[in-house]
Subunit: 345 residues, 2 copies
Amino acid sequence: MRLKDLGEFGLIGRIEKLFPPGASDVLQGIGDDCAVLDQGDYCLLLTTDALVEGVHFRLSWTSPRALGRKSIAVNVSDIMAMGGIPSYALLSLGIPPSTAVPFLEEFLVGVREMADFCGVTLVGGDTTSSPSGLLISATLVGRAPKEDLLFRSGAGPGNRLLVSGPLGESRAGMELLKRGVGTDDPALQGLLDWHRNPTPAFPLGCRIGEARLASAMIDISDGLSQDLGHICTRSGVGAIVEESSLPVSAAARRAAALLGEDPIAWALGGGEDYRLLVAVPAPNVERLQKQILQEGCGPLLVIGEITREPELRLRSKDGALRELPVTGYDHFSRGAGFPSEEPKD
Amino acid sequence: MRLKDLGEFGLIGRIEKLFPPGASDVLQGIGDDCAVLDQGDYCLLLTTDALVEGVHFRLSWTSPRALGRKSIAVNVSDIMAMGGIPSYALLSLGIPPSTAVPFLEEFLVGVREMADFCGVTLVGGDTTSSPSGLLISATLVGRAPKEDLLFRSGAGPGNRLLVSGPLGESRAGMELLKRGVGTDDPALQGLLDWHRNPTPAFPLGCRIGEARLASAMIDISDGLSQDLGHICTRSGVGAIVEESSLPVSAAARRAAALLGEDPIAWALGGGEDYRLLVAVPAPNVERLQKQILQEGCGPLLVIGEITREPELRLRSKDGALRELPVTGYDHFSRGAGFPSEEPKD
């Protein structure tokens, strides 16, 4: 069997089986946005995310500075997804020796900007040559009191599902870049920017953790339906998403019309949104929404609810319930949902 | 300017300048084997090291299991170099989708073996596709009481220099593999094995830390002369290495004779030795050597001493002092010492 037949989540399942948490201080091993290590008076959070040229980015579509920012942002997003506070970063770079030094300097400026924005200190890393393409792997360390942490496994029936911002923007931006359409339309710049240079939900994630009003959280990196699926699988529940509540921006609708695509499909399975998806017990929803707004963080929007039945379902605008197609990105499987595989394939 | 003109250590220097330690709890940022973060009653150690196909390994020369072991071993070696205890690992993999699943399973068995051997729990990671070649990046977390830690910067004039085992073995093994010579000679198998599957100096490094008798430590990954250079630069000192004291095995001598190479040059600049290089105040040397032996760890061999004069020198067997050529591996510079650049280039 080849990896493309097993798929990304098949592989992760095998790794998880081979590496059980073991030590008693491992509150969470493989299988959530971060590993969580109990240090007594607080918990340590660890996460790592890689960006590979030709898979996650194309140099002709982005700038070195945006790439530097994104390499930290995608990892901060995982710390936010646990309700933690990011503190230290390690950066591992594989670089073709012919790379221009000013390119690297701009890249590092971007790393520095996003690290400063999120209160992260870069404390180490590794540099190696790469025979083909730029390889970026960052590791982030965060911390949080145990009581603030939110896992994928905490959602319960009746919980409301909230998201922290518009969905499908990154996918819209990528499709525009890929097809070379609308890239000079000022109304669509925000989509291109979100794809190249997303802002993690910082400090929103820690504020939600501190509020202690939610039950589960994940960041939407693989696509809403897939990441909601992770919460439901880990929590042993299902969910209904309200199509009419999905936050889709005017710009994304415009891009979809331009390209003849469905913006709702992008919102459900686009990937790289880096919004937070939060499950909140119904009686806490208003209080959490209000508190978050008072703390200067953007609105949290209700898009559905957790059900006892384990299915993932979508309620259409006409009220009909149908199966929610789990589309999203699988790194190894062809045809596993991502309608157009470039540039991630 | 291109990166190959700046060189690996030029790049690291620029990164170090752009990212000063900042936060007061960062006892050591970029510039040592690990980052060190003061957590009050103990210190947290962080390190990351990547293995890139075609740069660090060739699949035709190694086995997936050995590769899995090595990906953890090279990182444990960095924790040992600080005198710390390894505890958790993250593993980031970039994998071509056509990779066979049994290959990955064997690789993971190797990861598991080395992690178990060193008391490390794998708690997370990242999987992504790779457009060309296998990419492996591991991050290790360790800990140690502050008083046990050994930095590159602690060496003082008169300190003796000790190493934890034979040098040049990995280089000898690589040269044999590269030239396809002697690979079925039973007397040379240990060299091939050390190149493919090195054993980190575990738990020797923590024992040296706990003994509190040494002043500085580093692991020899780039070659003795280069890594000794790191200690001397950070400590503001120089060193004299005794050629007659360099531990070179009979097997390495035999391989060198077979290939018409100089085993002393391999010992000085071969790289990937994963032995520890320790600076120890002269009055502590015997006590440390004895204590380490009593604890069941291999012998520590004196190979030279630290000098006030900042030069790196080699005392030949005839007693003459000459400049120690700083040969070793630079990931980006061509002709920067590594006599034959494959497979690392």
